[in-house]
Symmetry: C2
Subunit: 304 residues, 2 copies
């Protein structure tokens, strides 16, 4: 089975630092790549990691602050030079297309692929995209500008049929796909063989939530309840609680509080303020509330 992985390209905040580029990450599920946010330097990080992106078709932009979208024009431009032909879909608030249009029409006149914008309302929790592998939902966040996170839900995989049962009940090949989808089997004698006898259940589908940028918001808890992995911003530590409230960002402790209450599998922190040279104390702060916490860092890969 293919694993789901999260590749963090950048997890700094507005001011880049020696170690962190602005926000961008790639979620890989069932051999497809989904990019979330695209700060300046995203394509550089991809080069530095030798990341192939032929399976990247969709980019999701959380909000229209520069550190989450300034890398788009360079990425698109480079895809053009690399002769990409597959459509590139950008899911974002409607303003992005308008703001980028003059750039695209000036710098990307002869792209060998289409850039297709899909807009959504970040204030509603709604399904904004789905394909055969995943459903993507918006998660309304609490920030200085309209902003939302994204919940990626892998679609259920078909069950695995037990080979011995095919032989035992002499199941014809054409029935197998239906059984994998959950159907029972009726023998020539009219006996109903329950699906649960015939199949092993497939691996539980993965769920991943990205929440950046946001102030502490309990409203997101029901949406992200029980996800396997939560990436939650932790711009500040608890000693900067006042500043975090002013700027509508979260502290590490608050991120952990959300993780704990939402009973998530694991918490990954990111979007660190440039003031923190050492990230270990950020981790310690979060771990005091939610043990299964990890520091996101640029160019690290997590298994979901």
């Amino acid at each position: 089975m293919q694993k789901a992985t999260l590749t963090i390209l950048g997890c700094g905040s507005a001011l880049p630092t020696k170690r962190n580029f602005p926000s961008s990450q790639i979620l890989e599920i069932r051999d497809k790549q989904y990019m979330i946010d695209c700060g300046e330097g995203t394509q550089i990080r991809m080069q530095q990691m030798s990341l192939k992106t032929s399976r990247l078709g969709h980019i999701f932009i959380s909000h229209l602050h520069g550190d989450h979208c300034f890398g788009l024009i360079g990425l698109i431009s480079t895809f053009g030079m690399l002769n990409r032909t597959a459509d590139l879909h950008i899911h974002a608030q409607p303003d992005l297309e308008r703001v980028m249009s003059s750039q695209l029409s000036y710098f990307c006149t002869e792209l060998p692929f289409k850039v297709i914008f899909h807009s959504f309302n970040p204030n509603h929790h709604t399904l904004i995209f789905e394909d055969r592998s995943v459903s993507v939902y918006s998660i309304p966040l609490k920030h200085r500008v309209p902003c939302c996170g994204f919940l990626f839900e892998e679609k259920p995989r078909p069950s695995n049929i037990i080979k011995e049962m095919i032989d035992f009940y002499q199941i014809p090949t054409f029935r197998i796909p239906k059984i994998k989808q959950g159907e029972d089997f009726i023998t020539e004698d009219g006996e109903v063989i329950s699906n649960s006898v015939l199949t092993h259940q497939a691996v539980r589908p993965k769920r991943y939530a990205y929440c950046s940028d946001t102030a502490y918001s309990e409203k997101i808890i029901p949406i992200i309840k029980g996800v396997d992995c939560l990436y939650h911003e932790a711009t500040f530590m608890d000693d900067e609680l006042v500043r975090s409230k002013q700027t509508l960002h979260s502290t590490a402790k608050q991120a952990a509080e959300i993780a704990k209450r939402a009973e998530v599998g694991r918490l990954i922190l990111g979007h660190y303020s440039a003031r923190y040279k050492d990230h270990e104390p950020i981790l310690e702060e979060a771990k005091s509330v939610f043990e299964n916490t990890f520091l996101g860092e640029d160019m690290t890969v997590f298994e979901i």
Copy 2:
């Protein structure tokens, strides 16, 4: 005396690589900083080098390909967050202001400083800027889009007056500035003391030329004749001569040929195609024509 230095932030070509960001550099003369080109990630390189830019007032953009200007919006945005108050002057072709206007008005609404665009015609060799320290001239280049390099000429410094002469001829203090500018001194007895007796000549003013992107063009030779330092693009090596002609870029050999014919002090190469993992052969090729050649690399500093 303050030295003139060139800090290379990025010297890759259109596709960034593991080692090279797109084009950007900072020339520092007499305590002022002048940025040339501003590819994606310029502000990141500045952070990585811990570069202070309070003395940066002017940015010169050679041409409107993304790898020479996509970093502007992030840089301006960051200057805003850092509460810069000094005006920022951008010298570029007129299209840039138009293309950037929607971005600036969306992402940089409350900048605490002004961004002032100054346009020039890249097809003419002309004075495009001067202050008390330097004159900057355009150098028309030969590329797929209108493009020019920049010639920075430091203004002559005042001569240094010889202290012993002040005492010997009892020169009054108020005459000293004029003598430093080259005036002779007339004693009370009417004797004319030649300026050359009274002063040491100041250090010869520095001249630096930036030529990227360009095909081999002998037309630039009279303009850059005898500069102390020439940065010339060397996108390809001689084995890609055909490709260099098609794309209107230069080979390392051609860059060296220009340096040799223009009798420059030293040549710095850059704008390497991503295909060259090892840059040493590029250097070797250029050195076979012009010995005093150096490889530009990201985050290196040259004394001019």
